[in-house]
Assembly symmetry: C2
Homo-oligomer: 508 residues x 2
């Protein structure tokens, strides 16, 4: 592995450093350049807050030594956030992880900016303050991860801006209907409608009688039923839609730029006393409070999303391109096994049963492999994220994207409802961290580390992040990267935020 | 409400009692007879183990007094199982709940029985012993619930019989492939295949390189990867498929019989030291151990399965018949709101966001209503169960069945791995129980009741079931059925099993 990496390094030295508009002629590894000669949307680099010199940037890519990069002692991130990262052991030329940490302000769209978005904050600290953290784990190139790390938080801020006039009044739930100018719209209710609605509600039973027929076909009927939507679920909806827009933006900009690959996206937003953690992919966030673990995300992988994917393959078999079957089998089937019975699972099943093998079952399974080796259509090991619009099954015209979701799952933590000590933190990390270190091990390590640290040391959370990272990377021995237990360390890119929760309970 | 019930009673008296083959001329309520004059598959009745006289059967249907039926003092169910039931307050003529409790024996299919199924146990107590409990909550008629209560456990026993030769050897996992005679089949592995597999495994990375192309297109390739399937998940698969077969059987038998309506099905199977709880619908099972609640099922309702249903409507819009939209809105939309912005959720969202209303959004929402009033296509309040093959949206040709699932979720509890006292029980109940009594209230009530009972009283679990049932039914006051707290009691049919767990830890 090491020699393979060494050879790659010489290619890298000439091609990696960010430069002007001619960069797409360099770096034959294809991760930075469009195959059609389009410029990348953003040049490769590490997060701005690391403030790396070109020399350090190059040093950061040494797969043989895998130097750990941390926030500098004189740098400050909001909330004294700690950060550390390390490149992979050679699986890709560059570190495909990215990260961002921002303080932004949510403003109502002004006249001149109403239709412009994605502006950098202009230093005007008015509006609702918002803190943002994102980790992006790229694959098949770093383009999507870099684009998301530059733009997703601005999309979130702008979408929140559109409902800022509602957020200002957090005690009253958002109105169900808005006029074009954004003010609540109250339709007048027809008396006939109200009567029909009341009758229909009376008639509803568990499974029997249908509603008043008028109530279904007559759209003037307005039911008395009105769901109350909370401000919290409005913010969740903003996050969900911002991820979708980020994905659409990548697709759109691919017309003019190269944006290679795809990425998992895990973001945390703090606004008005609540922490919203949105996850699309296999990164993970946990809160450690009083040494206890509170999971803030679930992973989305071929195994965890098997049934969703099989259901799509079942309903839209044309997406499987006559090469794949939506059935799952515990291993490949051989021709000689036709007519025999084999264990299988379909989209409705969690257990296994036997079925008689038919010709169609010889196709490759849509979901195949176990654990970290599980793949969708033998290609990709995560099922949610941004980008991947061009991803196809090798040597075929079968697109993977329809099976991937760009929609995050959002979890909410009410910071103002809990008390926190200086060792209570939110840890966000890419899968490189969690693959070899369990939640409890991370919690124990953070608690032990921070309790031995001066509470006033501004570096304590960065040092904790570095400590976590070392526990997953290990040290290079003759038989590869090894942990103190002699188990194999993670050969993946690793990115870690350690975010203290103390002192922000009253922030809005 | 009471007068409505009174009028219904006179109709009932003539038509309800089980009788021979001319019963389909009676009972004008349509719950017992085919609209096309076909005989019902099974006559209406209460569970056999209640051993009701015709007089008692008729007495059981008095909506005005709602008598509680329990197991008789001289009756015995396996495991000293306790049972109680009560009819609804008038929403349907008959009690649409059903229940069954059986001891069965899983046998290898013998030569002459290989193709016959659904036999009654012939008293031959050889084979693997299996205990079975089922509660079935019918809607729009009692046919499906009765059919399931008579047949589902036999289907499960017969499907288990087909793998009985594997179950006999529980320590070794079930073979992946079986020859026609049921013995393990081991395909010979081509050397080329093995080499290609090894190469492909080496190449797999998270999202980048595809596999060795040969490995996908060449079915002679047998990967080294073989998932190990546990005996437990084989039993889970049997349960999942038995539910599906029960649903298919109802559909098939509807060609010759009337099997009215549909039903939620909640079953518990004890075999070889483990308790398997399979649930399709909104009934619920909990284990109470040392006063602590262990949930053994999740409910499947329009709210809990909103995203699955919306996804189907999104992928197969023709199933919505141009009458419904897969979007969810917090209330009906009026014509005057076209062009305005309204809160919505689609199949990808948990939060809410605003969208500009277009003509299509005026259609009735696929999922509509809140809590117990939530409906699929304004018709049905549960999303999993058996039957309902003919169920259509009122006054339309739109079928509901494609949106319903007959597949249960199966949870496993290892009885042999836990110690139990005489007050530790499995409680299974239809939604009538849980609608007004929380899990914790049920646990507290059971624990309090049983601790005040003689541990050797054979009736103690039936008395506990009766006590639970009374807590949800309440007593009839001037303003309806009321609980001691004066809250409204359940007006639904209620069925409760209380199953002791002590003393069965060593049973296999």
């Amino acid at each position: 592995m090491i020699s393979k990496v060494k050879n790659a390094m010489s290619t890298l030295v000439g091609g990696m450093i960010p430069h002007g508009h001619n960069h797409h002629h360099h770096s034959g590894n294809g991760q930075n350049c469009g195959s059609e000669g389009q410029p990348p949307r953003f040049p490769y680099g590490r997060p701005d807050f690391l403030d790396l010199t070109p020399e350090l940037l190059q040093y950061s890519t040494e797969h043989a030594s895998r130097p750990v990069l941390t926030l500098k002692r004189d740098s400050r991130l909001p909330w004294r956030t700690g950060y550390a990262e390390v490149i992979n052991a050679g699986k890709s030329m560059l570190n495909e992880d990215q990260a961002s940490c921002e303080k932004l302000f949510v403003k109502k769209p002004s006249g001149k900016h109403r239709n412009s978005t994605l502006q950098e904050d202009n230093g005007d600290a008015t509006g609702i303050p918002l803190h943002f953290w994102g980790v992006y784990d790229g694959h098949a190139g770093s383009g999507a991860a870099i684009a998301a790390s530059k733009l997703l938080h601005r999309l979130i801020r702008d979408r929140l801006g559109e409902v800022a006039h509602l957020l200002e009044n957090p005690a009253s739930p958002p109105p169900i209907c808005l006029a074009k100018n954004g003010s609540p719209y109250q339709a007048t209710e027809s008396k006939k409608g109200a009567a029909a609605a009341a009758a229909a509600q009376q008639q509803q039973v568990e499974g029997g009688a249908a509603e008043e027929p008028d109530a279904i076909s007559d759209p003037t009927v307005r039911y008395h039923m009105e769901k109350v939507v909370s401000m919290e679920s409005l913010v969740m909806g903003v996050l969900e839609n911002a991820f979708r827009q980020m994905d659409e933006l990548i697709e759109k900009e691919k017309a003019s730029y190269t944006i290679s690959g795809g990425c998992c996206a895990l973001t945390a937003v703090h606004m008005m006393g609540k922490l919203y953690v949105a996850n699309a992919g296999d990164s993970r966030a946990i809160i450690i409070r009083n040494d206890e673990v509170i999971p803030m995300s679930n992973e989305f992988t071929p195994e965890s999303e098997r049934q969703r994917l099989q259901y799509l393959g079942f309903l839209r078999p044309e997406l499987l391109g006559n090469e794949f079957t939506h059935m799952e089998f515990p291993r490949r089937i051989q021709h000689s096994e036709l007519g025999k019975k084999m264990l299988f699972r379909d989209h409705t099943m969690t257990g296994w049963a036997y079925r008689t093998i038919v010709e169609d079952d010889l196709k490759f399974p849509l979901i195949y492999g176990e654990g970290k080796k599980a793949r969708v259509m033998a290609t990709i090991g995560v099922t949610r994220g941004l980008g991947d619009h061009d991803l196809k099954v090798y040597n075929s015209n079968i697109h993977i994207k329809p099976f991937l979701s760009c929609c995050p799952e959002v979890k909410v933590y009410d910071l103002s409802e809990n008390k926190h000590g200086p060792d209570d933190v939110l840890v966000m990390g890419t899968d490189g961290l969690w693959d070899v270190t369990t939640d409890q091990e991370v919690a124990d390590a953070v608690s032990t580390f921070l309790s031995g640290c001066d509470p006033s040391d501004p570096m304590r959370y960065t040092l904790a992040a570095q400590d976590l990272l070392m526990r997953s990377r290990g040290v290079l021995k003759e038989r590869g990267w090894r942990l103190p237990s002699d188990r194999l360390g993670s050969g993946d890119d690793i990115t870690v935020f350690v975010i203290p929760l103390v002192g922000h309970e009253g922030e809005t």
